[in-house]
């Protein structure tokens, strides 16, 4: 019986020009989305590779130059360009170690925040400098957002489902085939249950086939578990809209009413509720002002200046190999010794400010996240972005890993400078062996919450269907 229904559904689908047109349009949009995602990824990767390439070349030149200087074949009078100086290579523009923030290969799935993400950071003794091409991106493009697969799935897929299911029952009634069907010796509920299952299988199957083949063509391996998780997510999402259309159909109204009701549902759940959730999040957990933050960082400098005396005293006590000199007698290195001495304190002060800011800012995101249950569009979009690795957790993950590397770099270069070590070939070879890529590994604590919410929402709508179906036809 189920096979009969599937055969029936497939036949109807293939012979309906409108259905085919809609499917082709959806598939086209998905293809465009995947193509955009792939292009963006390629661009990011290209920029990152170019940067690393330049760095390899630069350090090769610096190594050659340092070598000549070390062998007294050449001299560099401009001290701020001296490649044998750990200070210059560690801190100044001449040096610094660029580390690329590896873009997530699954970002083809959902752009998320990756279009605002920097592609590299240059590690220095005093911190890291961000290199971000998104600084130059036209803000208009960023405002309208990327036409990515997540957009097509979240916004357009439900419309496709609605367009093919809004007259699931009402169409049969208006066509006159409903009476014929009901006069056959089959349990009506069973028939419609199978019919619904058949149509869902057809729609879900079509969408998944297109999605998976597109993503595979874009270079995502079929062995990637996230791919299948995304497929499951899309299937659940399709199921939700399908069940909603069914519930509306079971109210027994005309096709026109059903269409309006389903579209009203779409409008509410996909457009209005997310906007309302964002409004609520903004009001309930406003993000503190960055202008204030910027000034606070300045004020922190003053604090550091106040504490400087104490810190320096401690430092020279703990490091008797260095002698504290009066300002007039200080040489370049003495200035730097003092700079380095306060560096850690300075960093920790500024880090605590940044962490406090982040914690408050994160509250808004957390608030919005707690409301994922209000709309399947929110749940599916959030989950797709999380699966793609382009969400906030990923951004935070990059930062943690960069921080670690930067601290290592800083410590190593400082030590070298303070020990008056000149940089030799050995050092440069060690540089070449340093990691140049950083991944966004982070604690994905709530990683599947979107998926669970979506599942729950499907159950809710399923319950609604069951409730409505108890009324007579």
């Amino acid at each position: 019986m189920f096979l009969l229904q599937i055969q029936h559904e497939v036949r109807q689908f293939i012979r309906s020009p409108l259905a085919l047109l809609l499917f082709v349009f959806l598939a086209g949009c998905m293809a465009f989305g995947v193509w955009n995602g792939a292009r963006d990824l390629a661009q990011k990767r290209g920029a990152a590779e170019a940067m690393l390439q330049k760095q390899t070349e630069k350090f090769a030149r610096l190594q050659a130059q340092a070598d000549s200087i070390n062998r007294n074949l050449k001299a560099e009078k401009r001290w701020w360009l001296d490649p044998t100086s750990a200070l210059v290579i560690g801190e100044f523009d001449r040096g610094g170690w660029a580390v690329v923030l590896e873009p997530a290969s699954l970002s083809i799935l959902a752009t998320g925040l990756s279009d605002l993400q920097a592609e590299a950071e240059v590690l220095k003794i005093s911190g890291s400098a961000v290199r971000s091409s998104s600084d130059f991106e036209n803000p208009v493009n960023l405002t309208f957002g990327t036409f990515d697969l997540a957009f097509v799935v979240t916004f357009l897929l439900p419309l496709f489902v609605i367009a093919l299911t809004f007259n699931l029952v009402s169409g049969e009634r208006e066509q006159g085939t409903l009476a014929l069907l009901l006069s056959q010796p089959i349990v009506a509920r069973q028939l419609f249950g199978l019919k619904m299952l058949a149509r869902f299988s057809l729609l879900g199957g079509l969408v998944l086939a297109v999605m998976l083949s597109l993503l595979a063509a874009a270079g995502i391996s079929l062995a990637e578990p996230a791919l299948w998780q995304a497929a499951g997510l899309v299937l659940l999402y399709t199921l939700f809209w399908f069940l909603l259309a069914l519930a509306v159909n079971l109210r027994g109204q005309s096709s026109a009413f059903n269409a309006l009701a389903c579209v009203a549902g779409w409008l509410l759940l996909v457009i209005v509720v997310p906007a309302l959730v964002n409004l609520a999040a903004e009001k309930a957990r406003p993000i503190p002002s960055r202008a204030v933050f910027q000034n606070d960082l300045r004020t922190a400098d003053l604090e550091v200046a106040r504490q400087k005396e104490r810190i320096l005293t401690e430092y020279f006590q703990q490091n008797p190999q260095f002698v504290r000199k009066a300002d007039e007698q200080k040489g370049d290195k003495d200035w730097w010794i003092e700079e380095f001495a306060v560096l850690d304190f300075d960093q920790s002060l500024k880090d605590s400010l940044a962490d406090a800011f982040e914690a408050k800012a994160h509250q808004q995101a957390d608030f919005a996240q707690s409301l994922l249950g209000l709309s399947p569009a929110l749940a599916v979009h959030y989950q797709l972005v999380t699966l793609a690795g382009t969400g906030r957790e990923a951004t935070g993950g990059y930062q943690q890993n960069i921080k670690k590397q930067q601290q290592e770099w800083s410590a190593s270069m400082r030590t070298k400078y303070l020990a008056d070590q000149k940089l030799t070939n050995t050092d440069y070879e060690a540089f070449a062996a340093l990691p140049t890529r950083v991944r966004a590994e982070a604690d994905m604590g709530n990683a599947a919450s979107g998926g669970w919410w979506l599942l729950m929402q499907c159950f809710l709508v399923g319950g609604l269907v069951w409730l409505v179906s108890r009324r007579p036809w």
């Binding site: 006159g176 009476a179 014929l180 056959q184 089959i186």
Partner: protein
């Protein structure tokens, strides 16, 4: 055979059907005449189990419709007033689909035979129903009924909108079904057709079967006169 015992249907205070007594034997064609709203369609709906009886019983082949909904449907066939079917499927495919739902799997050849039996032109079998005329769709509806091998046939205004030739074809099929032992209940406005096909004619008014006559006893004109008097 089709039986109604004290069949009553009320919608709130409104009485749609008032204690209908009816018994149609195999081979009989019973035509139900009456104004719009007299209760003809309600009667058919009750036999189909589409609505619940308020009191009384509807029986198909001795089985109560309310007690045996699925079984009674096995024994009956229904042709609604406007047969639309699935426009994107061919006549053959529509027949196949509905037959399978009823539990019958026929080979294509047999299905074509059914369609030919009801007079559907051979070239039309493989055309989409969306291109059929009303008469042709009607014929597919009858073929669906035939393929079911039902012993009871329920028809709701079957000849409305049909041209005289199609209407005539239809009468022929109905009469041949009757000779094969099928009990037929037909609700209609068409007095001429009723006289042609029916064994008995019943006139309904405001939910009550007010008169029953043997069709052979009267001419069509006389029948019309009785009708106009009765309603």
């Amino acid at each position: 055979m089709i039986e109604a015992i004290d069949l009553t249907k009320k919608y709130g205070d409104k009485i749609a059907l008032d204690r209908l007594q009816l018994s149609i034997q195999p081979g009989e064609v019973f035509c139900l005449l009456g104004q719009n709203g007299a209760g003809k369609t309600t009667t058919i709906n009750l036999f189909l189990g589409f609505t619940e009886t308020t009191s009384g019983h509807a029986l198909i082949n001795g089985l109560r419709v309310d007690e045996h909904p699925l079984e009674t449907k096995k024994h009956l066939a229904y042709i609604p007033e406007s047969v639309m079917l699935y426009p994107n499927l061919t006549g053959l495919e529509n027949l196949d689909y509905f037959s399978r739902l009823a539990g019958f799997r026929y080979a294509d050849g047999r299905l074509n035979e059914f369609l030919a039996d009801v007079g559907l032109p051979g070239e039309a079998h493989a055309r989409r129903v969306g291109t059929y005329s009303k008469g042709m769709r009607q014929k597919v509806g009858i073929a669906i009924a035939l393929a079911k091998n039902a012993k009871a046939l329920l028809l709701d205004e079957p000849t409305s909108g049909l041209d005289p030739k199609a209407s005539n074809d239809f009468s022929g099929i109905l009469k041949s079904l009757a000779t094969q032992g099928v009990a037929v209940l037909m609700a209609t406005h068409d007095i001429f057709r009723a006289k042609d096909v029916a064994t008995r004619v019943g006139i309904m008014r405001e939910g009550q079967l007010v008169a029953t006559h043997a069709a052979a006893d009267f001419s069509a004109a006389e029948l019309e006169g009785i009708y106009l008097e009765t309603v």
